[in-house]
């Protein structure tokens, strides 16, 4: 590596120990804004994700008002929403815009960027024993591309014609023709530009995560000794790398259709009795391209939380994770399957029914690796010495929500049943439990668990318990009744349903759901308060408050640039040596050699002494 050409190597920490010595004073901007430190970038993603989560949550509260109290007038919203509330009534197009932006924000900006952006950045170098990401500069670019995408998406909310309103899946022709809905004008253009930048951000980040995991593991850290979090983040990044470029292609073709007069997705269409010039396009083609990203995307959302939850459950049950290799195998299986099931979102699109039955078969296979994971989590909890920290409660609740939402996935995976349920609240209930609530619970578990390492202070537990119980109870209060609504045929995406005699009897149930939703929304401010207060005023944390085995807990309380003050730690064992018989303590960190644990070594481990 001796080289005169420093510029090419400056941004690569090649795993050499000679980097941490050259500490130089960083300016405020270098340290906190255009930082190349993975820990700071992780926190930037976390704060941005929280900001977007508040916006997305606010939007859902607004449209829940309309659904729960269709006859009421909301004059108190007029000062905030201006002309979108007309005489106390939500504008119907604004309602559609709210639903669209709620989906876009939650799926992409919170549960993709906010979740894997935060934890992949923060944990990958710390848990594999690296000084930083493979390329700190690209990592920084990844955040700032996301920031730019956020600014554009945020700005589009304030457009006079409103933000994109054709659903988060932006199906053409609705999204392609400004004549169709006012949100398909400038709002949709900004949506596409913002998403293109977002994809660039995800690719820059994902390339970094994969390279770091493959190339920068510390000595002794083989792939079979990685914490499950790292496996999860690694596979998430692989899914993103393969799926996001396809969305980029689809978005590019949609841009051409909208602005350059091509007809990739637009067939012969009449608007107001007049034929458009477009001819010969295929709207189903867009759905294929979109869902080729869209289905892996739901695993991009849920896989990181698989890893986080496995780690938190093993640590707080004081037991080795049950079936470590089965956990990795099931994640690999889910990742591969996620690419060959996309058309189960399109059973009602008019696609060939034979194709539908193939996709149905593949979809149902996903139940197998998912069930393996659930079984392993439950077996890890079984007869464990459980510490119910807030992170643990959120993790156990994650398993509960994942089961509840997953079971309805088997129902919807059947094309015959899906055709019946597709446009009802049953689908809404299914995916909000399994990828919405569950992913949020995993994210909360991660924040509560790694808060001490992020900020050097403990987050308040009592407020954490209050936050947990309200959120957990309300998640079920909101989404359980929705299954019932859906089976009864109650249609989703409708702005107003009081005109239908059949659905009027569900007024009470809708009001109930709305009250629960508003209540849980306000309960999140307990968390926001706790989060901000604890950053500044929380109890000071110790180096390893949860008595955990992974490498991040061997760093100082506030790890500096380069993470470890001395040489990098060396890894001797897997990360799940909890409650090992014969050991003096109930945990043995990964960097403790077998020669120091002779009392607890198993027969085959004596060779390593």
């Amino acid at each position: 590596m001796s080289s005169t050409d420093i510029s090419l190597h400056k941004d690569v920490h090649s795993g050499h120990d000679d980097h941490h010595d050259d500490h130089h004073e960083q300016s405020f901007i270098e340290k906190y804004i255009f930082s190349q430190d993975h820990k700071v970038i992780g926190k930037q993603f976390l704060f941005a994700g929280l900001f977007w989560a508040i916006i997305g949550g606010t939007f859902s509260s607004l449209f829940r008002f309309q659904l729960g109290f269709p006859e009421a007038t909301f004059t108190f919203l007029e000062p905030i929403l201006g002309k979108w509330v007309d005489g106390g009534k939500l504008n119907p197009e604004f309602y559609l815009a709210l639903v669209t932006m709620h989906g876009t924000i939650m799926v992409f900006f919170v549960l993709t960027a906010g979740l894997s952006g935060t934890f992949s950045n923060f944990l990958i170098p710390l848990q594999i024993g690296a000084r930083d990401m493979a390329s700190g500069f690209m990592n920084m670019l990844s955040f700032w591309f996301f920031f730019l995408a956020s600014v554009i998406m945020f700005y589009s909310i304030f457009l006079e014609t409103g933000p994109a309103a054709g659903g988060w899946t932006v199906y053409p022709p609705l999204s392609a023709l400004p004549q169709a809905i006012s949100g398909s004008g400038a709002g949709m253009t900004m949506w596409l530009v913002s998403m293109a930048l977002f994809i660039v951000s995800q690719l820059l980040g994902g390339v970094n995560y994969i390279t770091t995991v493959i190339n920068l593991r510390t000595r002794g850290m083989s792939m079979a000794k990685l914490p499950l979090t790292i496996w999860a983040f690694f596979l998430t990044a692989v899914l993103g790398l393969l799926a996001f470029p396809v969305l980029f292609s689809a978005a590019l073709l949609l841009i051409f259709d909208r602005s350059f007069g091509t007809s990739f997705f637009l067939s012969d269409i009449y608007v107001a009795g007049e034929a458009l010039t477009h001819t010969g396009g295929s709207p189903v083609l867009f759905q294929h391209l979109f869902w080729f990203l869209g289905h892996p995307e739901v695993y991009i959302v849920i896989l990181p939380t698989f890893g986080i939850v496995s780690e938190v459950i093993a640590t707080n049950a004081r037991k080795p994770i049950f079936g470590y290799r089965a956990m990795i195998g099931s994640m690999l299986g889910i990742s591969i399957l996620s690419f060959i099931v996309w058309a189960h979102h399109m059973f009602v699109s008019g696609m060939n029914p034979f194709l539908g039955s193939v996709f149905m078969f593949l979809t149902l296979i996903i139940a197998v690796p998912s069930a393996v994971k659930v079984f392993n989590w439950l077996a890890t909890l079984w007869r464990g010495n459980i510490n119910f920290t807030p992170a643990m409660l959120f993790s156990v609740a994650f398993v509960s929500l994942f089961i509840t939402g997953g079971v309805t996935g088997i129902i919807l995976g059947n094309s015959a049943l899906d055709i019946q349920m597709h446009d009802t609240y049953f689908v809404v209930a299914h995916f909000h439990l399994v990828m919405g609530s569950a992913a949020f619970f995993g994210m909360f578990a991660g924040v509560y668990h790694w808060f001490p390492k992020m900020f050097g202070r403990m987050i308040d537990e009592k407020l954490g318990y209050v936050h947990f119980w309200i959120t957990f109870v309300c998640a079920y209060l909101i989404f359980m009744p929705m299954h019932y609504l859906g089976i009864a045929g109650f249609p989703r995406r409708y702005y107003t349903w009081t005109g239908f005699e059949t659905f009027n009897k569900f007024l009470d149930m809708n009001s109930f759901i709305t009250i629960a939703a508003i209540f849980v929304f306000f309960a999140q401010f307990i968390f926001i308060f706790n989060f901000i207060y604890s950053i500044f005023r929380g109890r000071r944390a110790t180096e390893n408050p949860w008595k955990s085995n992974t490498l991040e807990w061997t760093t100082p309380v506030n790890p500096g640039h380069g993470n470890w003050p001395g040489p990098l730690p060396v890894v001797y064992r897997w990360p799940y040596d909890y409650s090992k018989p014969g050991a003096p303590q109930d945990f043995i960190p990964q960097n403790v050699p077998y020669s120091q644990t002779q009392s607890s070594n198993l027969p085959y481990e004596r060779d390593f002494e």
């Binding site: 690209m138 190339n215 010039t277 001819t279």
Partner: protein, 180 residues
């Protein structure tokens, strides 16, 4: 493996996925009918040969750098750039030929079959321009004597990327010939 080279391969994977999406969309759309059949511009074959030639120059530059023959490195890199620019000019001429034959990108008389050809060549040309920018950076560092046998990473990255862009074009060309 050097992390930078590994990263480049990952970026190549993402570009491959993009074109996989375009070409599979092409096939799916073609199967649905209402598809304008037209002759590919004849200049595309010439362009393909020019691009293969540029890859040969690129490989020459890389092996010259390995042998510390700095003069040849510069010459070969400049030749690669010239061939790359000639390819782009040729592609532009191809578009001109299409327009002359009334195959348009957009508008009321356009058909997806023509639009797809413009998109495939256009997005490839965009990536080729990024490759040219990379080449210019390597030329500048070669002028500063920073490309030699003990400092190969940069020119190796550039060589991999350039060969990939060539291979991508050959794939697209063969794909278009077979599906026309």
């Amino acid at each position: 493996m050097n992390p930078l080279i590994f990263m480049l391969w990952l970026l190549i994977v993402s570009i491959v996925m993009m074109f996989a999406a375009f070409t599979s969309a092409y096939i799916v759309r073609r199967e649905e009918g209402n598809w304008l059949e037209f002759d590919l511009p004849s200049v595309l074959l010439v362009n393909s040969i020019v691009l293969i030639l540029s890859s040969v120059f690129m490989q020459w530059a890389y092996s010259s750098a390995k042998a510390d023959n700095i003069k040849n490195v510069k010459l070969a890199l400049v030749l690669t750039i010239v061939a790359g620019v000639a390819f782009l000019i040729g592609q532009w001429a191809g578009w001109g030929e299409l327009v002359k034959n009334n195959v348009f990108f957009g508008g009321s008389t356009s058909n997806p079959s023509g639009s797809f050809l413009y998109v495939l060549t256009g997005v490839h040309a965009f990536h080729l321009i990024t490759g040219l920018i990379f080449l210019i950076i390597v030329v500048i560092s070669a002028l500063k004597y920073k490309v030699h046998s003990r400092n190969l990473t940069r020119i190796k990255l550039c060589t991999i990327y350039w060969h990939f862009l060539g291979a991508l074009w050959i794939y697209l060309y063969v794909f278009l010939v077979l599906n026309h």
